[in-house]
C-alpha cells in the first residue's frame, strides 16, 4: 500500500449565496484518505456530502482551503490541467448514472477513452474489455435505457473504470437499487475495483452496505462529526 495520502483535504469551506442568503455547505473540513481503502461519507440530507465530493474531485472550487491529490494541489491547476486531472485520475459514478441514451452501452463506456484522444475503434475495443469485466458483454450494442437499474449502474462503473483512475468516487451508488443488487455491486467494488493503487470514496445513506467500508466519515451541517470503523475491521 502506498503510504502517501491519496487525498488530503485541508480546511475545505464552501458557501453558496451572499449576504443574508449566504449558507455554508461545507465548513473547515480536513481529512485524509489512503490508497487501498474504501472511505464512506455519511450524514443527513443537506449535510454537505456531495459538495465535499465535488471539491475533492476537481468539479467545484472551494471558497477556502485546498485539496491535494497524490500531493498535487488540484485547485492551483489551470482549467485544462484540471480537466485532464479529472479525466485521468478520477472515475465518477453519478447518482443517476448520466448515461447517454442516444449512444450504445459500449459507446457510453468508451467516452473517457475518446476524450483521451484515442481513436474511435481503439476506444471501443478497450471499452469492450471493461464491459466484460462488469459482465455486460452481451449488452454492448443496446441503448442503456434497455438495461435494468443494476445493469446501468455497472455500465456507469465500467465507464468510470476505463481510465484506470487512482480515485473512484461514487455518489449514492445503491440508493435506487434493491438490497441484493446493492450488495452485489458493493461486492464487485470490493473485490474487483479496490486495489492498493486506488482510493475509493462512497457517499451513501444506505446503512445496508456500511459493512463494506474501511472507515466511515460522519458529517452533519457541513462539518465532520467523527469517524467510525467499518464492520469489516
Amino acid at each position: 500500500m502506498r503510504s502517501e495520502a491519496a487525498i488530503s483535504a485541508n480546511e475545505l469551506t464552501k458557501w453558496f449565496g451572499e449576504g443574508t442568503l449566504k449558507t455554508f455547505a461545507v465548513r473547515e473540513v480536513s481529512f485524509q484518505a489512503y490508497f487501498g481503502e474504501i472511505l464512506f461519507i455519511v450524514g443527513p440530507s443537506g449535510s454537505g456530502k456531495t459538495t465535499l465530493l465535488s471539491m475533492i474531485s476537481g468539479v467545484l472550487r472551494p471558497n477556502v482551503g485546498s485539496v491535494a491529490i497524490e500531493g498535487v494541489d488540484i485547485w492551483q491547476l489551470a482549467p485544462d490541467q484540471l480537466a485532464d486531472f479529472r479525466l485521468n485520475k478520477v472515475g465518477f459514478v453519478f447518482q443517476d448514472y448520466h448515461l447517454f441514451p442516444r449512444l450504445t452501452t459500449i459507446e457510453n463506456v468508451a467516452i473517457p477513452l475518446i476524450l483521451r484522444k484515442k481513436n474511435w475503434e481503439e476506444s471501443i475495443e478497450e471499452a469492450a474489455r471493461y464491459l466484460e469485466i462488469v459482465g455486460l458483454k452481451n449488452k454492448a450494442e443496446l441503448p442503456p435505457m434497455k438495461l435494468s437499474g443494476g445493469e446501468q449502474q455497472r455500465v456507469a462503473l465500467a465507464r468510470a473504470l476505463v481510465s484506470q483512475p487512482d480515485l473512484m468516487i461514487f455518489d449514492e451508488p445503491t440508493a435506487s437499487l434493491d438490497g441484493d443488487t446493492g450488495r452485489r455491486i458493493m461486492n464487485f467494488i470490493k473485490n474487483n475495483v479496490l486495489s492498493d493503487q486506488r482510493c475509493i470514496l462512497i457517499v451513501t445513506h444506505d446503512n445496508r452496505i456500511f459493512e463494506y467500508a474501511d472507515r466511515i466519515m460522519k458529517m452533519e451541517d457541513g462539518r465532520i462529526i467523527g469517524f467510525d470503523n467499518g464492520r469489516s475491521h
Binding site: 465535488s54 468539479v59 485532464d84 453519478f94 447518482q95 448520466h98 467516452i111 475518446i114 476524450l115 474511435w120
Partner: protein
C-alpha cells in the same frame, strides 16, 4: 480529435426527431433564400434580354437611359461621329420601339419592334424557319419564337398582319436565348422599314451598336463617346446598368431583399431555436462530459461541428429542393425566370454558415456556463 467528432456526430444524428427538425429549418431557409435570389436573377436576365440577344460588344446611348426598353433617340450625327472614332471597326444604328399590330383575326396586339441595320443586319437572331435574307423582302418581319408568340396567333412564314395601316408579313421565325420580361412579342425587321412603318420622333436611332477593332480599344472609345456627350457601355456594363435600375429604382430589388432577409430570419429562428433546444436537452450530457474531463475547447469544437454539419447538409437539401422546384416549374412554364447562379449559391452558403455560427454561439455559451457540480447534485 476524430473520436470526439464521431461522438458529436452520433449525439446529433441519433436524436432523429430533433435532427430532422433542424434540417427542415435550415433546408427551408436555404430554399427560400436561393429561390428568391434566383427569381430575381432570372428577372434581371430577362430585363436585359435585348442586350443579350443582339450580342453587340459596345452600346452607345443617351446618358439618361436606364433600361433597354426606354431608349432615348440619338441624333444622326452621333452615328457619324462614332464611326470616325479610332478603334471602331464598324458602328450601326438600332431601332427599338413598340407598335400596335392588327392580327388576321382582327385582334390588336402590342409588339416590340427591333430594326436592324440594313447593310449588316448586325445582331440578327438565328432563324429556325426561313432565311435571314428574306428580311429584305417587301413588308418582311421576323417573329421571335418564344412563349409570347402565341399572342401573335402562332404565325408561320407567310402569315400576314397590319402594322399602322401597312401590310406586314412574317418571313421567318427566330430563336433567341432570352425572352423579354414584359410578355410582349418581338418582331425583327430592317432599320429603314421600321422607321418607315412606325411613326417616329425626329431622331430614330435608339442605340448605336459598335464593334471595336479589339477589346483593348474599348476604354478609349468610351472616352471619346463621353466627349460627345453620350455614353458607350460594354454589353456587361449595360446589363449591369439595367440590373442596377431594377434593383435600386423600381422597388423590385428592395422587395426581394426584404424577402431574402425574412427567409434568412425565418430559417435562423427555426434552426437556431431547434439547435438551442437540442443543446438545452443535452445540457446535462455536456455537463457530464465536462465532469468526466472534456475541456472547454473540445466542447466548443463538438457543438460547432454539430451546427456546421447540420448547416451543410441542410444547405445541400435546400439547394437540391430549389433545383427540383425550378426544373419542374420550367417544364410547365418554359420561360419561368429563375437562374441559380454561383453568386446565389455562395450567398446562401455564407448565410447558412452565419446561421450555424449564431446557433452554435448560443449553444456554446450555454454549455460553457454549466457547472458539472449541478449535474452531480441532481
Amino acid at each position: 480529435m476524430n473520436g470526439i467528432l464521431k461522438l458529436a456526430f452520433k449525439l446529433l444524428v441519433n436524436d432523429k426527431g430533433k435532427y430532422a427538425a433542424l434540417l427542415v429549418g435550415i433546408t427551408f431557409a436555404v430554399f427560400l433564400m436561393v429561390q428568391m435570389t434566383s427569381i430575381f436573377s432570372g428577372i434581371l436576365t430577362k430585363a436585359s434580354s435585348t442586350v443579350i440577344n443582339l450580342g453587340a460588344q459596345v452600346w452607345v446611348m443617351d446618358p439618361a437611359v436606364t433600361n433597354v426598353a426606354s431608349s432615348i433617340p440619338l441624333p444622326t450625327y452621333v452615328l457619324d461621329a462614332v464611326r470616325s472614332i479610332n478603334g471602331v471597326k464598324y458602328a450601326v444604328p438600332l431601332y427599338s420601339g413598340s407598335a400596335l399590330v392588327k392580327l388576321e383575326n382582327g385582334v390588336f396586339q402590342f409588339v416590340t419592334v427591333l430594326g436592324l441595320d440594313d447593310n449588316s443586319l448586325l445582331g440578327h437572331p438565328e432563324l429556325i424557319e426561313g432565311k435571314i435574307e428574306d428580311i429584305y423582302a417587301e413588308n418582311a418581319f421576323v417573329a421571335v419564337q418564344d412563349t409570347e408568340i402565341s399572342k401573335l396567333g402562332n404565325p408561320r412564314p407567310g402569315t400576314e398582319f397590319e402594322i399602322n395601316d401597312h401590310r406586314g408579313v412574317i418571313v421567318g421565325l427566330a430563336k433567341v436565348s432570352v425572352s423579354g420580361l414584359f410578355g410582349i412579342p418581338t418582331l425583327y425587321t430592317t432599320y429603314s422599314r421600321a422607321i418607315q412603318y412606325i411613326p417616329s420622333t425626329r431622331f430614330t436611332i435608339a442605340y448605336i451598336l459598335v464593334e471595336p477593332k479589339s477589346n483593348d480599344v474599348i476604354p478609349s472609345i468610351q472616352d471619346q463617346v463621353r466627349q460627345l456627350g453620350y455614353v458607350a457601355l460594354t454589353k456587361q456594363g449595360f446589363m449591369q446598368k439595367i440590373a442596377d435600375y431594377y434593383k435600386y429604382q423600381t422597388g423590385l430589388g428592395t422587395n426581394i431583399l426584404i424577402m431574402t432577409v425574412v427567409s434568412f430570419l425565418v430559417g435562423l429562428s427555426i434552426s437556431g431555436q431547434t439547435f438551442y433546444t437540442f443543446i438545452l436537452e443535452n445540457l446535462e450530457k455536456f455537463g457530464a462530459l465536462k465532469a468526466i474531463g472534456a475541456k472547454g475547447n473540445e466542447l466548443v469544437y463538438m457543438i460547432f461541428f454539430q451546427a456546421t454539419f447540420s448547416a451543410i447538409i441542410g444547405y445541400g437539401l435546400g439547394v437540391g429542393l430549389c433545383a427540383v422546384v425550378i426544373t419542374l416549374a420550367k417544364l410547365r412554364i418554359p420561360e419561368y425566370s429563375a437562374n441559380i447562379t454561383f453568386t446565389t449559391l455562395a450567398f446562401a452558403l455564407v448565410m447558412v454558415l452565419i446561421i450555424a455560427g449564431i446557433s452554435s454561439y448560443i449553444g456554446i455559451r450555454k454549455v460553457l456556463k454549466i457547472e458539472p457540480f449541478d449535474i452531480f447534485r441532481s
